[in-house]
């Protein structure tokens, strides 16, 4: 019989030792899910992602490979590192393969009324819980939906928390972590360990729709739209003054295009329905662009026009 490395363990304890975060699951592998997969795998952790169909699994894997190629072109990665990252990422349509994951992050993209979005995410939460062990943490990447509401469907709601990654997940140094009323200290400890492993600093946020980042960015973008509609200033000028004057990397309209106007509209609807405050009510400009399918950078058109993801002029 072939010799095994385990035969040479000096203590039996060693053979049963396992790292809780040897494997991380991601449900929903759209653009943010892909970024999280690259980030986590890049830190040497195996990633399992779930998508709705086999085609979507293939598409996500292709997009991940394309994103890695883009990183190589931008000098941020070597081809050897790309291969290593890809070997640690696998996708499936079957939730059962999440077994063994110490942490699973829900990152699905859903459109429609708030109640439908909540239902879809809750359905994912239930499916994750049926696949993982009792100690695994289940998290949502959503900052708009309250984790307390999502976790009501779980047998063990104390394992649920919010982990909100901000785009681009690779380079933003912080993650927003939200506890529900029931989130246990053990779950938070696992998230702290995860954050350390992926090199992120935790910003603890008290549960509130929109957390810190989404709530602030929505009001900024809405106000920028107001200024534009009133004719006080033009799109490029508003963007420029905030970039040059306040050191933002992107102006509010560039940022809106990058986030995706459809996604932004969903966030605005959720926050407006939660708080009833007009400052969260989606600007008519955003609604108009979404209706015209001008969804932002990924669609090639938003507030600006884009060719191969690069800004090529204004649309409005």
């Amino acid at each position: 019989m072939a010799e095994k490395l385990e035969d040479f363990a000096i203590s039996k304890k060693l053979t049963t030792k396992s790292s809780m975060l040897n494997k991380v699951g991601i449900v929903g592998c759209g653009s943010m899910g892909q970024d999280i997969a690259i980030l986590v795998s890049g830190k040497g952790i195996e990633v399992i992602f779930i998508e709705k169909t086999d085609e979507k699994v293939k598409e996500s894997m292709k997009n991940i490979a394309d994103k890695l190629d883009e990183m190589i072109n931008r000098w941020g990665l070597t081809s050897g590192e790309k291969r290593a990252i890809l070997t640690r990422i696998s996708g499936s349509t079957d939730f059962k393969i999440l077994k063994g994951c110490g942490l699973v992050i829900e990152a699905i993209m859903t459109k429609g009324p708030v109640t439908e979005i909540v239902r879809a995410k809750q359905d994912v939460f239930k499916k994750i819980e049926s696949a993982v062990s009792a100690t695994s943490v289940i998290a949502t990447n959503s900052s708009a939906i309250a984790i307390s509401e999502l976790s009501t469907v779980l047998d063990h709601p104390e394992r649920a928390a919010g982990i909100h990654f901000l785009a681009p997940a690779q380079t933003v140094k912080v993650i927003e972590v939200t506890k529900s009323l029931k989130t246990s200290d053990e779950a938070i400890k696992i998230i702290e360990k995860f954050a350390k492993m992926i090199g992120k600093t935790i910003i603890n946020v008290h549960e509130s729709p929109g957390s810190l980042s989404t709530r602030l960015i929505i009001t900024l973008i809405n106000e920028a739209c107001e200024i534009f509609m009133e004719g006080v200033g033009w799109i490029e000028d508003i963007d420029e003054v905030l970039k040059s004057g306040y050191g933002l990397q992107l102006g509010p309209f560039e940022l809106a295009d990058k986030i995706g106007l459809d996604k932004l509209l969903v966030w605005m609807d959720i926050l407006y329905s939660e708080f009833g405050d007009r400052k969260y009510k989606a600007s008519p400009v955003i609604k108009r662009l979404v209706r015209s399918n001008h969804l932002g950078r990924s669609a090639g058109e938003g507030f600006y026009k884009y060719i191969d993801g690069k800004k090529e002029g204004k649309l409005l």
């Binding site: 010799e3 490395l5 030792k17 040897n22 000098w75």
Partner: protein, 407 residues
């Protein structure tokens, strides 16, 4: 006395068990791909017994547990019990200005080493992981740390400072530290042993040429200058590292390519060097093959640049020391790259370097004098043995400590 030497990298642990009195390596090997898929442990015993075992190695502690397990196993072991190991010596990459020699590892030393992490974020944490792991597994064993930077701590301020605002040195200790110190120290001492000369009145240049390369000027037994700087990216052209480059060009690249410091770091450390120039490989054997046998022009250019940079450093270090007596080649390329050695030494007869081309051609991975008998500068190949230095330093520290305890 048996000393275990550990060299912990980010995802690997190289190890050697020495019987220090007889200078014998009882066993050696490597645990690779730690924390990654496909991890394995390689083990070679002194009598030829060799085994490669695949299995999950989650972290450095697990890796060291397996190393200790195989060293004491009935089937492959070379010692009966862990009690036979008298001490563990660790390679530590960066010792900042805090360490100018090898030390006994105590809680205070660990604390100081932790403070050095900021300057070597890639290298020092895995070195420390090895130290913590041994502390957990063999709590009573003595451990010593041998620093890559320590040998170069003899450099004078005018040699190690960058001409940046002095306040940056005061605030962050921004300066040249140099690396590969253990190797430069070993080969220079060994060469003097071979030549039976006193190191204290010789001017020596040591060329450690491998995937990472550096060169050192050693005057009267002390390092007075070296090519690597605050980080291992400065100096010679390496496998994937650029070596010396105009800092102004770097800020210009950042602007033009719209990249941040992280990407710039990857560009300089992983996309550059002979790989970046040739587009062929970071391995010098592949480059030579492409240049000489396939006529690849960029591979030829990479070789020319690699050799030219070394030649330039030899000239400048000879000037800095006021002459040169001994030139040493070591490291994978230095020990085996016959054409590269010949090319570097070509046209340096004006400064007394005359290589014996036939002798040079037949010398690979062995100690040999490769200069002509009449050459004013003696040129040698000396295979490096950093592990032996670590073992010997550890032995010395432990022996002194034990003597002190007896008194």
């Amino acid at each position: 006395m048996k000393i275990l030497v550990l060299n912990c990298g980010s995802s690997s642990i190289k190890y050697q068990l020495f019987n220090i009195e007889s200078n014998q390596v009882l066993a050696k090997g490597i645990a690779e791909k730690i924390g990654l898929k496909g991890s394995f442990l390689k083990y070679d015993r002194y009598d030829g017994d060799s085994v490669k075992l695949a299995g999950e190695i989650l972290d450095h502690q697990t890796g060291i547990e397996y190393i200790l397990g195989i060293l004491t196993s009935d089937k492959h072991g070379c010692i009966k019990s862990l009690n036979e190991i008298d001490a563990v010596g660790h390679r530590v990459v960066h010792g900042e200005e805090k360490f100018n020699s090898s030390v006994l590892i105590t809680s205070e030393v660990i604390q100081k080493m932790e403070q050095c992490i900021e300057l070597a974020p890639l290298h020092n944490p895995p070195n420390l992981k090895g130290i913590y792991a041994v502390k957990n597994l063999l709590p009573d064993i003595l451990q010593a740390g041998v620093f890559d930077t320590a040998f170069h701590q003899t450099m004078q301020k005018y040699a190690f400072l960058y001409a940046l605002p002095y306040s940056l040195y005061e605030k962050y200790r921004i300066r040249k530290y140099g690396f590969h110190g253990t190797s430069h120290r070993y080969v220079s001492a060994r060469a003097c042993e071979i030549l039976n000369v006193n190191m204290k009145d010789k001017n020596i240049i040591t060329c450690h040429l491998g995937n990472g390369s550096s060169i050192a000027a050693i005057k009267n037994g002390k390092s007075i200058d070296t090519s690597m700087g605050m980080t291992p990216v400065e100096g010679l052209i390496m496998g994937t590292r650029c070596g010396d480059v105009d800092a102004g060009a770097l800020t210009y690249i950042m602007h033009k390519e719209e990249i941040d410091t992280t990407a710039l770091n990857t560009l300089m450390n992983k996309h550059s060097g002979v790989l970046g120039i040739s587009g062929v490989s970071s391995d010098m054997r592949d480059i030579e093959d492409a240049a000489y046998r396939k006529g690849n022009e960029r591979a030829k250019l990479a070789l020319q640049m690699f050799n030219y940079r070394i030649k330039k450093y030899i000239g400048s270090y000879a000037a800095a020391m006021g002459g040169l007596d001994i030139l040493i080649f070591t490291g994978g390329i230095g020990e085996n790259g016959t054409d590269i050695r010949e090319e570097i030494c070509k046209n340096l007869d004006f400064m007394g370097i005359e290589i014996d081309t036939a002798k040079n051609k037949e010398t690979a991975a062995k100690e040999a004098i490769i200069s002509k008998p009449k050459s004013r500068v003696t040129v040698l190949v000396v295979p490096t043995n950093e592990e032996l230095v670590i073992a010997k330093d550890t032995y010395e520290i432990i022996t002194k400590l034990k003597k002190k305890e007896k008194q």
